[in-house]
Amino acid sequence: MGTLTSLLNIASEALLADQVALNATANNVANQNTPGYTDEVVNFQSGDAVSLSGNTQSSGVTATVVSQRDRVLEQRVQQQTQTVSQSGALQSALQQVENIFGLSSTSTSASSTTLGTDLNSFFSSLSALASSPSNTTQQAVLAAANTLAGDFNSAANQLSQVSSSLNQEVSGDVGQVNSLTSSIASLNGQIASVSPNGDAGTLEDQRQEDLDQLSQLVGLDQITTSQNGISLTTSSGAVLVSGNQSFAMGTTQVGGNTDVLAGDPPSDVTSNLAGGDLGGTLQARDQYLPAYSNALDSLAYAIGTQVNQQNEQGIDGSGNAGQAIFTLPSSATGAAASIQVSATSPGAIASASSGEGSSGNTNATALANLSNANMVGSQTATGFLASFLAQVGSDTSGVTTNNTAQQAALTQLTTQRDSLSGVSLDQEASNLTQYQRSYQAASQVFTIVDSLMASAINLGVETTVT
């Protein structure tokens, strides 16, 4: 039996432990709407039993508060956040490209776009010239050529503007990344001094909140280090945070683009960055936009070059050898942005061939026939434009689908994290069973749709999810 003093000590510890538990509960209630806050639970632990004068007595109870977080789950949420942000940034950029060409999620037809309509009008004007060579039809060809060149200039300039705005986004993202990595490094330092071996509660919540925001900006690898710290690197391995030190990202101008510097010493990591808004922005700027610009340049250059060559083989309205109608650069690069109509007078359109007089139409017919010629590789100009616009539509649609799926997966993960942190193992098992059964039921719907289509229209190939 213990002494009265020891009994009072035990009672006092019990009261203190209860107070800790009440504080934790109050904290949980007060912070239920605080972003990034993790529920705290109280662990009660009996003190070691003490043997005194042959009697064993308890030395009371102590309470410790720990946050219910699971680092593995948190990291999966972060990784998924990076994926969603990347696909979101890419989707946003590609939708801007769709808008440039007047495409939408429901219409990717070339004939419905300004460029498609004006390309058809140009070839139609050449057909009209071939049918009836005159000053009026020559004037119509010149006007259509001017409109078409203007469309190419406009589309190329707008693509360039999208690229510029993506460059600005890169700079903005880098600034935000630096602010967050600096904060995380500072929190690492505080956590190391306050709680090097255990949960640091609110400080860890703040660090987690910063990590969540950072995940929206850039792909990260996270390493847990000593003293409850974390080190961060980009997905390509450039260090961003190590202990209480942060390593700022920088930017540099390379070939008109804003590239990203990171690591110690800083090096250009642009081509290796993935994940987050920065990853998606760079993917759009460095992979998709150049391909679209090149395609547009190829089309403008092919049309300009071959129309020029054909016009130069004819005789103009003054009886002289025809001249180039379009002004072009020496190669396809930049052709869409710079193509211009050099001819100023309708008579510069060479309708006739040599020897048939200026009223002939042989060369005009050859010009009109260019509409059916393979001008760009093995494709006609209109065929190439249709393929190009279909590609833009398909890219955007694919990225949109991917983004929607990734967002749904993030919602799932957040649900799972919230339900699996801070509940009993029995409840975890119950939740997992429910998730598993939901997955199986959805798989079943997928499979039935698969078989429904396969049997109904004899697709021949069934897609399956394993």
Partner: protein, 86 residues
Amino acid sequence: MAIDQAVVDILDETIQALTHFDFNGLQALEERISVLVKSDAKCIGDGLHLILAKQRLLELLLQSCKLNLDALNRLHRRNTRGQWAH
């Protein structure tokens, strides 16, 4: 066309229900599409593109879901082992 729209709607609702792990809703959807199959309904051309797009979306979500469920099961097993170890 009506059947195509019905399949698209079911796929949309399945994606929503799976996103929030609504098991009861998913069971009801499974029954709805089973009824469609039994009625010998056929998908015809116009809506096929949309059905394939929605099915692709569901497929991507199922793939992510499977990946995450595997990770969660591993975590749960680890935690359970931890409990027995004490």
